[in-house]
Symmetry: C2
Subunit: 446 residues, 2 copies
Amino acid sequence: MVKETSPVNLAFILILLCASNVFVCRGEWEPTWSSRAAEEAEAVAAIPCSGHGRAYLDGLILKGHEPVCECNPCYGGSDCSKLLSDCAANAGSGDPYFMEPFWMRHAAGSAILVSGWHRMGYSYSDGSYISQLLVEYIKKLHGIVGNAITEGKYIVFGSGSTQLLNAAVYALSPNSSMSPAKVVATAPYYPVYRTQTQFFNSRDFSYEGETSSWKNKTDKNSIFIEFVTSPNNPDGKLTKEVLEGPNVKSIYDRAYYWPHFTAIPSPADDDLMIFTISKLTGHAGSRFGWAIVKDEAVYEKMLTYMDMNTMGVSREAQLRALKLLDVALEGDGKEIFQFAYSTMRDRWIRLKEIISKTKRFSLQKISSQYCTFFKRDRDASPAYAWLKCERQQDNNCYEILEAAGINGREGSLYSADNRYVRLSLIRSQDDFEILINKLKILVSKE
Amino acid sequence: MVKETSPVNLAFILILLCASNVFVCRGEWEPTWSSRAAEEAEAVAAIPCSGHGRAYLDGLILKGHEPVCECNPCYGGSDCSKLLSDCAANAGSGDPYFMEPFWMRHAAGSAILVSGWHRMGYSYSDGSYISQLLVEYIKKLHGIVGNAITEGKYIVFGSGSTQLLNAAVYALSPNSSMSPAKVVATAPYYPVYRTQTQFFNSRDFSYEGETSSWKNKTDKNSIFIEFVTSPNNPDGKLTKEVLEGPNVKSIYDRAYYWPHFTAIPSPADDDLMIFTISKLTGHAGSRFGWAIVKDEAVYEKMLTYMDMNTMGVSREAQLRALKLLDVALEGDGKEIFQFAYSTMRDRWIRLKEIISKTKRFSLQKISSQYCTFFKRDRDASPAYAWLKCERQQDNNCYEILEAAGINGREGSLYSADNRYVRLSLIRSQDDFEILINKLKILVSKE
């Protein structure tokens, strides 16, 4: 039968078939060595987990291992379709899964294929451990958002903001011949400032408690290092340093200073600011953060810390960050922020609505404020609810919530009163819905 | 003309075309969202750099940026085809590019495609920061090689062995209420042990110099932490701890204890051993290492250090390590070691041949030894040459070599005499050939 078709006919058929997209034609690009990796990744992504879980590549590639759904909290079964009864809402850790739908939507643009020989050496071509291309992307993004001034400043990378917090403390502390720097923070504050400073137990610095207890008590004999988190974790407030004087240095933790979580009144221009991809794109697992540093000597000390501690940040994490920021910068660079803000705002509105029905609990007040990024007043959309138990007898708010099937984090972790609990609002939609349901029941029981 | 072909004919043609592999047919797997990433990676890999350089994905993806070859030392031009004159041999850093050809050969198996939503959260499904699948792979590899006993032991990950060295010092040091642990090492030794311990300047430990000066001087009042590198960096010798007593703890840096670099006389069974992927697969840039720990309390302390310092190791780095070890474990798991050993052995033979022609220089002696992995006596194949200038007047060997266009690392960096220089033998074949050429000229000038 084939003989009936002349070579000319055959060529014509091929052209038609190519054009009709029934076949991929040679001449267009076709994968060779990359196809196995691509196929593996797509096979894993196609595993159905009922929208309540996810299968990952590193649960699959061991020969003989079957793909496995990792279910969201309170879901079970091999395909995560089973809603578990008597399951407490997970509102504890700040795993930023709220951004996951954005990345599913940008599947093609955000994927990276890493060859076996990608960046085997220690250094980039300039001899550093820092991708200058990624530095450019970061500066560009800050420029679009208008949340930080990067011109004339230095950028250093860390394995998450975690590593940079301590690098900054080391860099700002005096030599060991002087008395140790006094590290302080204002409650309620992110506990890592204290635990990390105490853990490393350096002769160069020590944790000295509440900032307020040192107000008007700074002197020339000690360097003070004040942690400032703005917006604050846990309560979302925009804050400023409290201490004043020539011996006071501030470390501004700017993890949450993105349109996702706060109005951006003006670009931050602090001497030392720390950001993390975790709360920007939602990739906590990548362990990638950056510090923007004004003073060259401080920058050099932070680089030395990074060399001594880990010889820089994983080149795979830097590559991934580059690709994620590439997507964030697409078009006018606003889509990711519109997605993140609208998600967080909706969650806050729903939460506020429930809490407004009771006098037993209250939430932090965050007023609507003009945002230079959105060019309008915008509603609150904090990363965490800082919930207070208002009844006198409810002096352990964590236990009250726990009894109602809600796991938050107790106020004392943040050096605050246990009348407060932090509830994470940046987790998956599943976790948020379960939280909302449990709160509704709790409030309706009154 | 198409009308001449009946539907039956068309179907038959399709089957033939599919079978003839001219087209990829639907029904076989075809990439969807992964194809852009795959195409980008293959396009970068296809950039011709004349075999003297490499283009990387993170030099390309910025829009408007052209792909760029990053040339090996002493090569230049847009495609790295130009051998630069008056260019010194780079025998300095331990960038393990000697493994690159292995990964080019295993392109399909070693590639990973990372989706935009891969492991966004902090934890694996067991709540830890450590991929248990990767732990399994590591144990399996040690089992095949027979270089370390992992049964009944704990494994903790770090951002390269760098981070684990300091984590181990913290974990082995007493609480701050006791006197600080004394950290010691035996020259010639890897300088990071000293610089890191001094840099972090903890109240819990201090660097106390040469191990030998504390022999028979350990007492009950202090904990001693002895760094043991076996095989040793720089000289490749198999070593053991020197100090004895109940207060002495050893950190065994086992980075080079692979068939690449040494005979494996028996599986190492030390209390605390540190390995790194850098010197196993050659991926220094990934910043991935692991410690094998006997004592549970020490393991827990190291985990705490990792949490406090960086909240674990980048999940991308862990995924990459998993894939690389997957390739290493293929078949009988011997190919990677045969490749690495044969490369390093050939290099050592060529180097020895040149140095044997002169009395001005000498190399460390490493005798042939029975290897339980290869099940035979095997030749030396160290990672570094520990070259000595034998002439009395040549008391700065680094300068002698530098004048001859060879950049090594001076002995004093390793707390040894400057009659010694470390020459890295694990860099690219280009670097090694230039080194050999410069040495030939130097030796022939006598």
